[in-house]
Symmetry: C2
């Protein structure tokens, strides 16, 4: 019998997920939303439950050569909380699946969990369960998170409307540039273990890479301001990739103004030093874990003075046109695809 | 600076979990129960939510030399559903985190998901989300499950009372003996790839290993009979280990009658052939995914005629005495610890 073999890289992560998810349309009456958003949505009666899972693998998502275990633990919780934030929800409980080889000591595991403990405190979530296993190689962390949201406040990716304003929290590109600095210093260190790493002046972007924050502060800020976003997604793969998700799922286009994209000064400085484009880092770098969301124009006054929110463009009724208006006055199509671990 | 190094194997899986969980006492008002039972329990208002995570790793939990991917997928869902059953709950939604190396093709992943699809149908759960990542080696599956239970029906490990009857579903030891047969045939095959595996006569125990079922049927049966167990746990590590959990968490002892432990005839036959004790397989083998539970004596008449339930003993007020009354008339302390992957 001849069996055909299709490489996963030929479909990519998103292509494979799309292909698999076709067979998993939810059937239970309380399954409000299945695959295709930042979390699943479950009807709890008076409100909605939110459920999501993220994996972090050594050698794929983090490098223990420069990423302390405590930071890995913190990040594992934060990126899951970010998924709940992206649904406009409040996180509650997390479970942690941990697989590790005998290279790791009890003390190492305790460092990892100290980071999780800190993140649980910062984001006010309880670690309520999990699983622990030996692995043949390396460290793998699987975190699942459960949260809740009032039914009228849940925010999907698929509900942006033409003329809605496009907003992003914080600043972008820092996590990617921080990673480049860490990779550079690792190379230097491997060539000459006596050298001290040159991290000075890059503390902010390194922090962005090693210890990302979920923007629950902005979720609470929007609540206080009485704003329910019309659509939302978290920025894990870069602005371009996330904007394409919002547009394709909502059936709208978008125009983004380059000059409005928030980028920290350190990103510009290190970009010059490493000959890397700050705007490319923001568009395609990934791992910033900011929130990308749309609001009604009528809500503009409620966000315009927030130091945490930048209005970077607006949605249009032309789904085929997702464009960047550059500082130079050009309009470029936004097409980037973000990370694809299977192609690396 | 001198740092001490403690090997994980010196604490064991349960010891490490105990040590880590000390720092994670739940603090949120809706976190009803954290680490320490088959699932966490979350207050949803009118009912409870149940949340749990299990990992399955190639080379640790399954061997693709004899375990088809479809069965691995089925098992990944079933063992999680079993955790919900063990809380007397009804499973609803699952998320799947999947890490795999480029050794796996799209077709292989589809086989895996076909098994998950079958399990979702059998147990009436929706696969609603997940994550997909490359791994440096092997296949890892992380499944999280969410379920619900009426507040008055939730069943913990810690609530067994002296004089409660101890019950177990189905039969025990089959999954362990099935694994021994598969391991034997793998050795034969590796020595002589032309040989056909000798599996005839062992179909039942091989099925028990490769395609375990969560006993949701018994959960529905108990509901119909009007029985709420006083305590419950699923049998993933062997009867001995699970009974010790029930007793220590409930502060009770137990007396188990060897002659009442349900063991399939195939377990006896292959036990003779391989010189392995059937009762040891039942007590310490693991992976049967049956339910071990206690009921009030007053409920005996409601379960005594069930072909799915065996009453194997009773709980006592002597926490220090957890004993097996052997067929030969002796009383042996039950002390086995189940699997510890970190010692293998």
């Amino acid at each position: 019998m001849t069996q055909s073999r299709t490489e996963i890289a030929s479909l990519g992560e998103f292509g494979l997920i799309r292909r698999l998810s076709e067979n998993f349309t939810p059937t239970l009456p309380d399954s409000v939303l299945g695959i295709g958003d930042d979390t699943a949505v479950i009807d709890l009666g008076t409100e909605y439950g939110l459920l999501s899972t993220d994996l972090l693998l050594e050698g794929v998502h983090f490098d223990l050569a420069f990423c302390p275990l405590k930071h890995v633990g913190y990040k594992a919780i934060a990126v899951n909380v970010s998924d709940i934030a992206a649904m406009n929800g409040i996180p509650g409980q997390v479970t942690v699946g941990l697989a590790l080889s005998n290279r790791f000591s009890v003390e190492a595991v305790e460092e990892l969990y100290a980071g999780m403990r800190a993140a649980c405190d910062d984001f006010k979530v309880d670690l309520v369960g999990g699983d622990l296993s030996a692995s043949r190689s390396g460290l793998l962390i699987s975190v699942s998170v459960f949260g809740k949201v009032a039914k009228e406040k849940v925010t999907y990716r698929k509900t942006a409307k033409p003329n809605d304003l496009l907003c992003v929290t914080g600043d972008l590109g820092g996590a990617y540039m921080g990673l480049q600095v860490l990779e550079r210093e690792k190379q230097v260190y491997m060539a000459n273990p006596g050298m001290q790493p040159e991290l000075e002046g890059n503390e902010y972007i390194i922090q962005r890479q090693l210890k990302p924050e979920a923007r629950m502060d902005v979720i609470y800020e929007l609540r206080d301001a009485g704003v329910v976003p019309t659509a939302m997604i978290d920025v894990s793969d870069g602005l371009a990739s996330e904007l394409l998700h919002l547009c394709s799922q909502s059936g709208v286009g978008a125009l983004v103004f380059e000059e409005n994209i928030p980028i920290d000064e350190q990103v510009y400085l290190i970009g010059t030093e490493l000959n890397l484009s700050p705007i490319t880092a923001a568009m395609n770098g990934g791992e910033d874990y900011e929130l990308l969301f749309t609001i009604k124009q009528a809500d503009y006054d409620r966000v315009k003075n927030s130091p945490n929110i930048s209005v970077i463009g607006y949605m249009t009724d032309k789904p085929a046109e997702i464009q960047l208006a550059t500082k130079g006055g050009n309009r470029l199509p936004i097409t980037a695809q973000g990370w694809n671990h299977f192609n690396q």
